[in-house]
Symmetry: C2
Subunit: 381 residues, 2 copies
């Protein structure tokens, strides 16, 4: 078991109707003016927007707005948000939406107190030393952005989908009301399920040292995702399944699963980022395409863990069966499992591989994941 620091100071307010208290949660920090960040309007149609405004008003918190944050959130929109914060004396950023909204809110919070270009943080040219406090009200569970310091943003000039991570960006308070997620389509539910599984298994398979307890936690998460997803596809209003799904989404990427591991990396995310950057597909859809291909390519490098996965998750005896069962499950819930399923032509593979390899270099795994290796993996998809 390797040395580690575990520190996750985000407070989670989990439960029904908790968004009504968002003004109180923010007000407890003495904050009087926020930037309200959200997507393309569904929160207005659902009435959530009005409930947030009412709560802010009740606690005398004034706000500016940044709407129109899209999935695969854009750097240009983040920069719009940073301009508003700098001009308007914004004291905190409140993201209301899913992972893209919250990731944008975090990037704005980091950029707001930085003189240079916020992209400097993404390309490791500068380090985040301060940030505005971030708050969230979640409408989708997948990225765990509600309880970590990560943010992934697409640079719409360079087509690079890169990330930052700092505990300064951990939300101060995140509101998780599973009721707000009941209207998520089965399509996006499936993508979310794939994303959570991806977060759990990246280090599970790639770490050179992986304590048994961590394996057990990961398997607990994956089993719960599979069970609750199947319940929710049939009955989107099952509150308990929705709530468990939301809670394990958080556990998959809040620092718990990697604690004490060593040598792990996120190759599936690295490769996927090229798919969603260049073809604007949903992150979870891209992961469903990459993961089975990557598993087939990688399995011999950690056979015992692949066998363990097969046994614990699907109760089958060998690694190959485990991989094909996972791929079959992705298909069953409606996620694409090949480039063809997502209408990505195989002639795009060289460009995808170059894009992913550039990110591999930033993440320090460029030597393993050359453009050729990534092409080989994508050929399997």
């Amino acid at each position: 078991m390797h040395d580690f620091t575990y520190y996750n100071p985000t407070k989670i307010e989990f439960g029904k109707e908790k968004e009504h208290n968002i003004g109180e949660y923010i007000g407890q920090f003495g904050i009087k003016k926020v930037l309200l960040v959200y997507g393309t309007g569904s929160i207005k149609a659902s009435g959530l927007y009005q409930r947030i405004i009412n709560s802010l008003n009740k606690h005398d918190i004034i706000f500016e707005e940044l709407d129109n944050v899209v999935s695969n959130p854009l750097l240009s929109r983040v920069n719009d948000g940073i301009k508003i914060t700098k001009l308007s004396g914004i004291e905190a950023v409140l993201g209301v939406g899913g992972g893209s909204v919250v990731d944008s809110a975090k990037a704005i919070a980091a950029g707001a107190l930085y003189e240079g270009d916020v992209w400097d943080f993404f390309i490791h040219k500068a380090q985040i030393t301060q940030a505005l406090p971030v708050f969230t009200v979640m409408t989708l569970s997948a990225t765990a952005s509600e309880m970590n310091g990560n943010s992934v943003v697409l640079n719409d000039e360079t087509q690079q989908k890169y990330s930052i991570s700092s505990v300064l960006l951990n939300p101060k308070v995140s509101v998780i009301n599973p009721q707000l997620m009941a209207t998520v389509s089965n399509e996006y539910l499936a993508y979310s399920a794939v994303d959570i599984i991806a977060h759990s298994i990246e280090i599970y398979f790639t770490a050179t040292d992986h304590p048994k307890f961590n394996s057990r936690i990961v398997e607990s998460i994956v089993k719960t995702v599979i069970q609750t997803t199947e319940i929710l596809i049939k009955n989107p209003d099952d509150y308990n399944a929705r709530a468990e799904f939301a809670w394990v989404a958080i556990q998959a990427l809040n620092g718990l699963t990697p604690a004490g591991t060593a040598g792990g990396s996120f190759p599936n995310h690295m490769i996927e980022h090229s798919l969603s950057a260049l073809f604007n597909i949903a992150h979870g859809a891209g992961l469903a395409i990459v993961i089975p291909a990557w598993m087939k390519w990688y399995k011999e490098q950690n056979k015992p863990q692949f066998e363990r996965f097969a046994k614990k998750i699907f109760n089958v005896e060998n690694a190959d069966e485990g991989i094909s069962d996972l791929e079959a499950w992705f298909k069953k819930i409606g996620a694409p499992t090949s480039l063809k399923d997502a209408n990505i032509p195989s002639k795009a593979i060289p460009e995808l591989a170059q894009n992913a390899h550039a990110l591999a270099n930033v993440w320090g795994i460029g030597e393993i994941y050359s453009a050729n290796v990534i092409s080989d993996i994508l050929e399997k998809a």
Copy 2:
């Protein structure tokens, strides 16, 4: 799944030799004077005391000392510590030891900023609204006090062993170096293992609503405790086993396992507190006596969960077998499983039951756990 707030702002510094940095960790908070709380001298013999002092000196942190904290820590000694903090301008409390030392440090931290008697907090006569910051360097893993806001103290005048809980008492930083735990005797290792299992299973069995994910986490903890304890009994120097043991001890009582559950309580702890209060036995030893008896008494009230436990932990089919396998495992690792094993005469049962029932009233479960019911349970022990 029930509404909950999850908030655990303790930073865990986990790994080899991390105690050398304790001065740095404290200094980052701008703290210049601490009260160093420890036990009966083993940290001096081991050299740990000197390493702590060196690190404090290096970071210009001066200190007063409170030694002689015993297991089942005494209110009188806590009051000694509070006196020192009030007289000496102490800014933080540093506990170096096991759960008793850290629990004492927390009670001192709460009492230091309170005009009245610190016992007021334990009998719910007053609420903790402020406390000095707490830091820890752990030499024993069991109570998870290193990552929660709980403190259990024995009032040596009234023989009441009561507890407090506040996020204000969560340590700011806890140092967990598993190397420091390698000298723990097999006897205390066994008691610690029982304590961790107890923390995990109290709510697992008693909650009226217990999400599957929580069950899986608890089973992951219990399996890991059993495996690592068996390794450590044979080879106390197995670092990885020691480290996993230390980490799951924390997970068992840091707020993760009860999140989203409802209706759970801590009856085994409630009953045990009377044993250690009146007979000064180790807390884990008392739990090993109480748990099998309580399980036999309680099992019909949540049969499916007892059957699940039997299956998942011991791979046996019925609840009774699961209980007897757990009892046999306690025996195997050297923990007492009857009052007789601990030289507690059965004629003491009425007094134990009265003592425990008084605590049951404080914890709001006095209606279920009358003195008669507690006597019935203890008769099975």
